[in-house]
């Protein structure tokens, strides 16, 4: 078993909306990412997946719960205590058009983390990171500005900047959703290669197909909670939670002859300021029973090894 890198336990993130309302964006999330593991956090917008990741990066303060990196508790770490952690834990943003400063050349973008952390041999490190990110030969890109690159190339620059500090873990927030289909596989394959070389990867995505292809484990979030988690192929082929079942059923298949029986849930995800009592999914659940409106089920083992779901029916 490889070393556990990121551990999130019972994480709650809440903020005030107006004077009285308290919104729980994340409400009791626990998850771990080990070295060499590719975990996908899947859910619809507003389910709290991005907040979870940002809290892990300490960009958003946690209300309660703990976040550990290796064996260090970083839940309340100060900026200076976080510095060594930030070298190890890097984030890749969704929008490659927005996440690179248009006034910086590629070499300056990739070198920025090195400057911030005061590392030497910048030239060599920049080149090494760029080649690792598939920008070969590096010379072709060093002097370019972001607007001279394609979307896929920009995202590789973003990844190269994340790799410059030789991190042990990457957090990728929807790394391909802004890219053309034709180049997505390349970026995801790159993340996959990095995982093979020992990095831990936590990818946030709304795309189940992508998660199914590249992740080892999938965690499905709904309204601030993880409602199902397990090995990727198990969660996709043998979903246990009614929400996951519905999500899987509506993913369009590329083969038109693979007929779909979409189980379309009506309405939209409720506002996290207004979480239903009992199981938070019960008002939209096609198989809800009377007990579901009072009992809030925890994650429990369902199906095969390591597969868990939060539903009283499993």
């Amino acid at each position: 078993m490889s070393e556990t890198l990121l551990t999130i336990e019972d994480l709650v993130v809440q903020y005030r909306q107006g004077r009285k309302k308290v919104v729980k964006a994340v409400d009791g999330v626990s998850l771990t990412v080990a070295a060499g593991e590719f975990v996908a956090l899947v859910g619809e917008s507003g389910c709290g997946k991005t907040t979870t990741a940002q809290t892990a990066m300490r960009m958003v303060p946690a209300t309660s719960g703990t976040i550990r990196y290796r064996d260090r508790d970083i839940t309340n770490a100060t900026q200076s205590e976080m510095r060594p952690i930030r070298r190890e834990l890097q984030i890749i943003f969704q929008d490659p058009y927005e996440s690179l400063d248009p006034r910086f050349r590629v070499k300056d973008i990739v070198a920025e983390p090195l400057e911030i952390h005061g590392l030497d041999n910048r030239d060599e490190r920049v080149r090494a990171a760029m080649e690792r990110a598939g920008l070969t030969p590096a010379d072709l890109y060093l002097e370019r500005y972001p607007h001279e690159l394609s979307g896929g190339q920009r995202q590789r620059v973003s990844i190269a900047a994340a790799l410059a500090l030789e991190p042990t873990m990457l957090l990728a927030d929807e790394p391909v959703s802004m890219l053309d289909v034709s180049v997505r596989a390349g970026i995801l394959g790159l993340l996959n290669d990095l995982r093979t070389s020992g990095l831990g990867i936590l990818m946030i995505t709304h795309d189940l197909s992508t998660a199914a292809h590249f992740a080892d484990r999938i965690c499905v979030m709904y309204l601030g909670r993880i409602v199902e988690e397990g090995p990727a192929h198990e969660v996709i082929r043998n979903p246990q939670h009614p929400y996951t079942k519905a999500l899987v059923s509506v993913v369009p298949q590329p083969d038109p002859e693979q007929s779909m029986q979409p189980e379309i849930l009506q309405g939209e995800t409720p506002n996290p300021a207004d979480v239903p009592t009992g199981c938070r999914f019960h008002p939209r659940c096609p198989v809800a029973t009377a007990a579901c409106s009072s009992e809030d089920p925890p994650l429990r083992p369902a199906g095969s090894d390591g597969h868990r779901a939060a539903c009283i029916l499993v």
Binding site: E44, S45, S150, G152, D180, V181, S182, V183, R184, A185, G186, I187, L188, G189, H206, D207, L208, S209, T210, A212, H213, F214, A232, H233, I236, R237, A246, L247, V248, V250, V251, P252, Q253, P254, D255, P256, E257, M260, P262, I264, L265, Q266, E268, T269
Partner: protein, 318 residues
């Protein structure tokens, strides 16, 4: 007879510095009543420009050539003058991001009512009733027409945008990335709605998207565009199982499927710039099976089976 047929449509954009961008380079296809057709391709391949041309909504720096036949009548022939009477009345469009384009200080109902009254279809109370009817048609209670856009969720605003496009009972609906910003579950709801509308109203639909599985699931036919050309046209089954063009095959190859049965492979490189002349097949630099002939001229269109055609030298020999 096709309700809409496009024949050899070209669109150019004048750029500063006397350059010109040839965005659509002679596309042709037909569309039957009640049919759903996908227009797919990477960004910048000309798909949005093509449907804007069908709406006659090209900007002033654009010029167009070719024929756009609505029930057999060429509506492009007189430029804006012949397009205008059909815009919204016969051909309507749901713009990309339409759900975010509502005026925040006016009610949803009044914004749908406006085109109804402008077109002279109904006035006052009758227009209100028609608005309610349209909202019901897209699955929103008619009483909600007095709500403001911010009181609607993203999915409902998208439904309202579709209702707005249907205000004048068009024959053809053009939808530009109608589900891109939506969550999967809401996307499924909108797709279900589009399928129902085409089936019930006999509306013909052209859906522009970069998402192949979407097209596979709801469209009968699809046109794949690359660098301003339609590289392949056929039923979705033909495109997936018997592609004639390597681009189609490689696009499907780059698309992950849910059950992860196939490996996914990206297509190397990026689409060419269209502001300079391209000799030969524009896909050649990225193609995995190009031959010498590909560099010399644009490949002729070959019809493999009725309704299924592709423009490629290589697969023609295979």
């Amino acid at each position: 007879m096709s309700v809409l047929a496009v024949e050899d449509l070209h669109v150019w954009f004048e750029l500063p510095d006397d350059k010109e961008l040839h965005a659509v380079q002679g596309i042709s296809f037909g569309l039957e009543r009640g049919e759903r057709m996908g227009l797919v391709g990477e960004s910048g391949c000309g798909k949005t420009t093509a449907i804007l041309a069908m709406m006659g909504l090209l900007p002033p720096n654009a010029s167009a050539a070719g024929r756009i036949l609505l029930d057999g009548e060429d509506i492009l022939a007189g430029g804006d003058a012949t397009m205008r009477p059909h815009r919204w009345n016969d051909i309507a469009m749901v713009f990309q991001g339409a759900m975010n384009a509502f005026d925040p200080v006016k009610t949803i109902g009044s914004q749908i009512q406006e085109p109804i009254e402008t077109a002279g279809l109904a006035k006052g109370k009758a227009a209100r009733a028609r608005t309610a009817e349209l909202l019901e048609l897209v699955g929103i209670s008619g009483e909600r027409q007095d709500r403001f856009p911010h009181e609607f969720s993203g999915g409902m605003r998208q439904r309202a945008a579709i209702a707005m496009a249907l205000a004048c009972q068009p024959k053809v609906l053009l939808a530009d990335e109608p589900t891109t910003a939506l969550d999967v579950m809401v996307q499924a709801q909108i797709l279900e709605l589009l399928v129902r509308l085409t089936d019930e109203l006999g509306l013909a639909l052209i859906m522009v998207t970069h998402d192949l599985p979407l097209v596979s699931q709801i469209c009968q036919r699809a046109a794949v565009m690359y660098a301003g050309h339609i590289t392949e046209l056929g039923t979705t089954t033909e495109l997936y199982h018997r592609p004639l063009h390597p681009y189609t095959r490689m696009l499907f190859g780059a698309t992950p499927d849910l059950l992860a049965q196939r490996e996914v492979t990206s297509i190397p490189g990026a689409p060419p710039r269209l502001d300079q002349e391209i000799t030969g097949c524009p896909f050649r630099p990225r193609c995995d099976s190009a031959i010498d002939a590909c560099a010399l001229s644009y490949p002729p269109t070959r019809t493999a089976e009725p309704g299924h055609s592709g423009a490629c030298f290589v697969e023609a020999h295979a």
